[in-house]
């Protein structure tokens, strides 16, 4: 297939398994210089993606972790008036030079940097509803003006912007229109085996099958309030390996449940399942037609 205009292509990295559509979405965002909006269940590697995009494209990375109190302007720059006031009082350097008190935020630094950066704006939905709208112009034109010094910061290289959202809030339409969107679906069993192989390369296949059967079975249980995620599965396998659990031991019950279920109600629900004499599946076919191997 043709690879036109020869820009760097992201192909995934050895320690991050990305599906084909995700790779395409990343490359589309890189080529069109649009922000890439990533959504998906918690624990599917949204935040991790940015690190690996940076690694795959050999670019430095800047992160901006959004909190509920974050303001859009903080990403561009902060004018440290208190420091200046303090310096004017106690004589610390040249107070007349306002530039010394302008501190660029992550977005500002990505613009000002000489080389192309990957900029992660993590959990944008945590901030106020208007937050994404306040960034529209800056992300579109990749430039902003520092009002205090009337200096203009113009991006020499448009950064690759990766935005993650946990769906806590609806994002404004105007912001969405500018983004390339990708929803990281929960990995199916085949992809999950590849993901697990990255973290635990020498895992016994019968053990892995048993582990995944239990894992997907748990996720199918509608009583659970919080489904276990990929990262929890990886942790759980680590715990199982450390304890030297064998495949037979895991057939009858689920050890180290705390690594998978984080809510008291969920642990209780499973205990009730035990008390009722419920058993756990041991073959893929027991999970239903979707899991037929």
């Amino acid at each position: 297939m043709g690879e036109p205009n020869g820009f760097h292509r992201f192909k995934g990295t050895p320690s991050y398994i990305a599906s084909g559509p995700l790779v395409d979405a990343v490359n589309c965002a890189v080529a069109l210089e649009r922000p890439l909006l990533i959504k998906g269940e918690p624990g599917t590697g949204k935040t991790l993606l940015a690190t690996h995009v940076a690694e795959g494209l050999c670019m430095p990375m800047l992160s901006w972790y959004i909190k509920s109190t974050s303001k859009a302007a903080e990403g561009l720059y902060v004018y440290d008036t208190v420091q200046r006031l303090n310096d004017s009082r106690f004589g610390g350097g040249n107070v007349a030079d306002i530039r010394r008190y302008i501190k660029l935020g992550p977005l500002g630094r990505a613009f000002a940097a000489p080389e192309r950066h990957v900029l992660l704006i993590d959990e944008i939905d945590k901030a106020d509803l208007e937050f994404p709208n306040d960034l529209l112009r800056e992300l579109d034109e990749m430039r902003f003006t520092i009002i205090e010094t009337s200096e203009e910061v113009i991006a020499r290289e448009r950064p690759v912007v990766v935005v993650t959202s946990n769906n806590e809030k609806e994002l404004p339409d105007a912001f969405l229109r500018r983004c390339i969107f990708h929803y990281i679906e929960f990995p199916d069993a085949a992809l999950m085996k590849r993901i697990v192989a990255v973290h635990h390369p020498n895992l016994d296949t019968t053990l892995l099958d048993q582990v995944l059967i239990k894992f997907y079975w748990l996720r199918e249980q509608s009583e659970l309030r919080k489904k276990p995620s990929t990262s929890e599965l990886i942790d759980w396998i680590s715990a199982l390996l450390r304890a030297g659990i064998t495949p037979d031991q895991i057939e009858a019950h689920i050890p180290f449940l705390g690594a998978l279920l984080k809510k008291e109600q969920d642990a209780d629900a499973l205990q009730r399942h035990d008390l009722k004499g419920g058993r756990y599946p041991t073959r893929w076919s027991e999970l239903g037609p979707r899991y037929n191997q």
């Binding site: 297939m1 043709g2 809030k169």
Partner: protein, 394 residues
């Protein structure tokens, strides 16, 4: 062909704007799809669709446009739109009813799906197509003895399968989205004021004071801005409110999760407010709180939202001892209590889950609307209700 995809998506209600369309064309121009239909599918989806809730609609349109395959035979909103308004056709005679063929359930479903595939526009009357008020076995408000009812309320008894229910079950997966929309509507329930401890540095004032103080730094603090809205929620439970369990519980979930409110107190009642309201949805004496105490303790700045259908028997509203719960009758009629609530608080709204058209048909609803501004329990209605609670008076 490409334009067909664009308009197809818009027809399905996916919000696609020209800007996104241009983005996709740009991507295609650069060959990012690698001349591969599957990759084009993912590329187009990434550029055009911005929420996973529209993925299903995108799939249907894409399949239709690019493979010549009809969209899956599913109950779309369009079909329900056709059926929303049952026209009042003249009643059929028993002979006509008998003349209509009696079909088994499976045959009926099969024919329904076939007809749905053929049908392209809204249809009223007649005896073949899906529509309202006809003699066709499929549709709404029809009179076929063994008909399938699609959506709408169960007016007739003969509907042996409520096909619409399937659709609602599918929509259940969107519950999270609905709660989110409600939360967005509630987010405007704010009145920011500065009260409490002075913990935030007031920069302008500090500079001012420092200048006044001949350069000697004088720090000035002020209380941080905080939401001052306190909300009293009174909810009608049981009886006629039963069908609205889902939207009402979503509203309650959203309110409980709304951290911004300064105080939030939910109470429950049945049909109308009398001498007592209840702290739990189980209206037993142990949970009862005298309504008078509530008015005594909560000052007039509390915002009041009453959720209920306002439809009841007139005696329940107007007569002493009108409450239908025989264990807790009250000498004061409900309307008097509603008057007190409306008079005590500066802002109060009534949120009604019933359709707006039904409001004027019920005597008690008309009476209550004179006391409280009434809004529908929908995302838009909630937005207006919030505006009425905290916005400027109009």
């Amino acid at each position: 062909m490409f334009l067909e995809l664009f308009y197809g998506l818009r027809d399905e209600g996916v919000p696609v704007a020209l800007q996104e369309w241009m983005t996709m064309l740009e991507a295609v121009k650069r060959g990012l799809h690698g001349s591969n239909l599957l990759r084009f599918y993912h590329l187009a989806r990434a550029c055009l669709v911005k929420s996973e809730t529209y993925f299903d609609a995108f799939d249907r349109v894409f399949a239709r446009v690019f493979r010549g395959v009809e969209g899956t035979l599913d109950l779309t909103d369009e079909v329900l739109e056709w059926l929303r308004d049952p026209k009042n056709f003249p009643r059929l005679s028993p002979e006509e009813l008998a003349a209509l063929e009696r079909l088994t359930a499976d045959e009926l479903m099969q024919r329904f799906l076939e007809t749905l595939a053929e049908q392209t526009e809204r249809h009223d009357g007649g005896d073949r197509w899906i529509g309202t008020g006809g003699r066709s076995p499929y549709g709404h408000g029809g009179q076929h003895p063994t008909g399938i009812r699609i959506g709408g309320a169960g007016g007739g008894r003969s509907a042996m399968k409520v096909a619409g229910e399937r659709r609602f079950r599918e929509y259940r997966t969107d519950v999270a989205l609905d709660v989110r929309q409600i939360r967005v509507a509630l987010r405007r329930l704010r009145q920011l004021t500065r009260t409490g401890l002075a913990t935030e540095l007031d920069l302008d004032e500090t500079i001012d004071e420092t200048c006044r103080n001949a350069g000697e730094i004088e720090l000035v603090f002020r209380p941080p801005r905080r939401n001052d809205v306190r909300l009293l929620l009174l909810m009608d439970v049981g009886g006629t409110m039963e069908p609205y369990y889902e939207p009402v519980s979503q509203l309650l979930t959203a309110l409980h999760e709304e951290r911004g409110l300064r105080e939030f107190r939910p109470y429950y009642f049945h049909n109308c407010i009398y001498d007592h309201v209840y702290t739990q949805a189980r209206l037993i004496r142990a949970n009862a709180v005298p309504t008078g105490n509530l008015l005594h303790h909560l000052d007039e700045r509390w915002k009041v939202a009453i959720v209920g259908d306002a439809a009841m028997h007139p005696t329940e509203l107007l007569e002493p001892h009108g409450g239908i719960n025989p264990h807790s009758t009250s000498p004061t009629p409900g309307i008097a209590w509603l008057h007190r609530v409306a008079g005590h608080f500066q802002r109060a709204v009534w949120i009604n889950p019933d359709e707006r058209e039904l409001w004027d048909r019920t005597h008690t609803t008309r009476l209550i609307r004179r006391l409280f501004p009434m809004f529908r329990l929908s995302v838009d209605g909630l937005g207006d209700a919030v505006q009425a609670l905290v916005g400027a008076r109009v």
